[in-house]
């Protein structure tokens, strides 16, 4: 492979901004940008990805289609929500987290006020959502992670989601300084008795807004992909009636926490605590999460649901058939 021209070796932040501007604002193709910037096409693709990841590009889709509006209205009515945000279903199922996360990030960015306290979950959706939160001056913000951490993670880490959100707004960040999963349920109990974690739990109960997503129990769930939940535990949970989780509390279809040891080995702020929070926002989409979303909606007095068309249709169909 020929080596790239010398000026491609260094990458000024300005270059990323320029490439992103030409692509997103001017609507130029990658090939046109490559010509204009005298760079290779590959380099342009790289610059665009870097600009997105660095949050340099803020995208807002300001309009909604009729189908979206109709689904939103039905969801609000059916689940007594304050608001619903339904985004068009992505063309690839694997992009659900990206599009729903985008809507969640935009929504959260608009909600932030000086002095506010945010409780946040984790997962691919929220991870993606971080990129979409607009830059704004918000003072005195605090972010509370509602789950324990992972000592080693490949992609998504509860601690990182809270940390990055806090960094974006120079907010105070409160973390659950404990593992997300412990082998011994007794240890989980002992940890919650620690003064530091008791404080954190009290703080979590007082947040103004909670943003959480839900997980299903399929092999594609983040918990399973990250190896935090074994396949045998997942099977046992399903056998016990679990359909998914919210904040790592495994729920049955009615929204009750199932009686299984896995539920006693996860370190996360309890759903009783979360129920006290005035604004609860759930963000998840995709066909495979319908059952988990329904359970979470029953478990938590949700104010806002952010999802995609597929899950919205699934939710409305399931509920009306009385499942």
């Amino acid at each position: 492979m020929p080596s790239p021209p010398a000026h491609e070796a260094f990458e000024a932040p300005e270059q990323r901004v320029r490439a992103a501007w030409l692509y997103y604002a001017e609507g130029m193709t990658q090939a046109q940008i490559a010509r204009q910037m005298r760079l290779s096409r590959v380099k342009v693709i790289h610059l665009l990805a870097a600009a997105r990841d660095a949050g340099l590009v803020s995208i807002r889709v300001n309009a909604k289609g009729l189908a979206q509006l109709d689904l939103e209205r039905q969801l609000v009515e059916r689940f007594s929500l304050h608001a619903a945000i339904v985004v068009p279903a992505p063309s690839r199922e694997s992009d659900v987290a990206r599009v729903v996360g985008h809507a969640a990030g935009v929504f959260l960015g608009e909600q932030l006020r000086d002095g506010m306290s945010i409780g946040i979950g984790w997962g691919e959706t929220l991870h993606q959502g971080l990129k979409a939160i607009g830059e704004r001056e918000v003072g005195g913000l605090s972010v509370v992670s509602l789950l324990g951490g992972i000592t080693h993670s490949r992609t998504v880490n509860p601690a990182t989601v809270a940390r990055r959100l806090a960094d974006a707004f120079r907010a105070d960040c409160y973390q659950v300084t404990a593992p997300l999963v412990v082998a011994d349920p007794g240890l989980a109990e002992a940890l919650w008795n620690e003064p530091g974690l008791r404080d954190l739990r009290a703080r979590a109960r007082r947040v103004d807004l909670v943003l959480a997503s839900v997980g299903d129990l399929s092999a594609r769930a983040t918990l399973l992909r990250e190896g935090l939940l074994s396949r045998s535990d997942a099977a046992a949970l399903r056998a016990a009636g679990a359909v998914g989780d919210v904040l790592c509390h495994f729920l049955d279809a009615q929204g009750h926490v199932v009686d299984h040891s896995a539920n006693r080995r996860m370190i996360a702020v309890s759903l009783e605590d979360v129920r006290r929070v005035p604004r609860i926002v759930l963000a998840s989409g995709g066909r495979r999460k319908v059952a988990a979303l329904l359970a979470a909606l029953r478990a938590l007095p949700t104010q806002v649901l952010i999802t995609d068309e597929c899950a919205a249709r699934g939710l409305l169909a399931t509920e009306s058939s009385g499942a």
Partner: protein, 320 residues
């Protein structure tokens, strides 16, 4: 109250498609090709959907804060003034800082465009002085730098001959100087000087440069021309009265870009604007709010191919 016509099904479905295309493209990062398959429409239709989604404000995109704003200004300048390129640098309240930033951007621009065998014509001024000082040494073969103005026997800071000399040194290029005073007392002497074989040869050379890099001055005491005492500040009122808003290569321009016939015109020894119009690529480098009128006049006087300026001047130019 007469209601608005309710949107027809056709309006709505096309709006729906635009919104869908915008999500697929901007949020999901699908290619236009993939979107055309997902929405079962042609590829050109996808391009049109995305274009109107942007134009109608269905999707808004902001890129990178202030860096993005400058790039937007560059594009608007290119479109408005028919340029090939524009470079906009951050503004500063400090004049000399603006000159330094614009000058450095001009240096970068010059280095990137310079090629073996190329001939570069240069003006003078504080901005180009910064440009010459900022030039990184880069060797070009058979390159030449031509000064487009006469020189000064004594100068504190900025001297046209020094600007050309420094650039030639940086590029390892031959330097051609206009070996005459920039300002003469007697207009007849100016005519005589241009008749000299060496100088008429230089003028021919100037007309044949591949790229000319010039800046503009405003008609104020702060302009280098008056600040350096080359021309008496007492001439300013009569110049302004005659409609002068600034100068390019010491040629005084009215707001419409026309060269103003003032007695001083006959006393300046510099390559003519007509000569400059023969140059394929003319680059204007100047910034600062006070230079907006002069820049506008220069853009009208010359078919510039590039403009290098700062944010405040760019905004000023675009608001005219």
């Amino acid at each position: 109250m007469a209601g608005r016509r309710p949107p027809s099904a056709r309006d709505e479905s096309s709006r729906d498609l635009k919104v869908r295309a915008a999500w697929h493209y901007y949020v999901e990062d699908l290619t236009q090709e993939a979107i055309s398959r997902a929405l079962a429409v042609s590829r050109p239709k996808v391009v049109r959907l995305l274009q109107s989604a942007r134009d109608e404000g269905l999707v808004t995109i902001r890129v990178g804060g202030r860096g993005g704003e400058r790039i937007a200004l560059e594009h608007r300048l290119v479109a408005r003034f028919g340029l090939a390129e524009a470079v906009v640098v951050p503004s500063s309240a400090d004049d000399s800082e603006v000159a330094a930033r614009v000058g450095e951007a001009a240096a970068l621009y010059a280095v990137e465009r310079m090629r073996d065998g190329m001939s570069l014509g240069v003006g003078w001024g504080t901005t180009l002085d910064h440009c010459a000082r900022a030039l990184a040494a880069a060797r070009f073969r058979r390159a030449s730098v031509v000064s487009l103005l006469g020189g000064m026997t004594h100068s504190r800071g900025v001297n046209p001959s020094a600007v050309a000399r420094r650039m030639a040194d940086a590029f390892g290029a031959d330097c051609y100087q206009l070996t005459a005073p920039l300002v003469v007392a007697d207009p007849a002497l100016r005519t005589a000087l241009w008749a000299e074989p060496g100088l008429s040869e230089l003028r021919r050379r100037a007309r044949r440069v591949d790229l000319a890099l010039v800046s503009v001055g405003d008609a104020s005491e702060r302009a280098t021309l008056f600040g350096e005492g080359l021309l008496p500040a007492s001439a300013l009122p009569t110049l302004r009265e005659a409609g002068v808003v600034g100068d390019v290569l010491c040629h005084f321009l009215a707001a419409d870009g026309r060269e103003v016939d003032h007695p001083l015109r006959q006393r300046i020894v510099a390559v003519e604007l007509d000569d400059l119009r023969a140059v394929p690529r003319v680059v204007i480098a100047s910034g600062g709010e006070r230079k907006v009128a002069a820049l506008l006049a220069a853009l009208k006087a010359l078919r510039a191919s590039a403009l290098i300026t700062d944010e405040s001047a760019a905004r000023g130019l675009l608001s005219r």
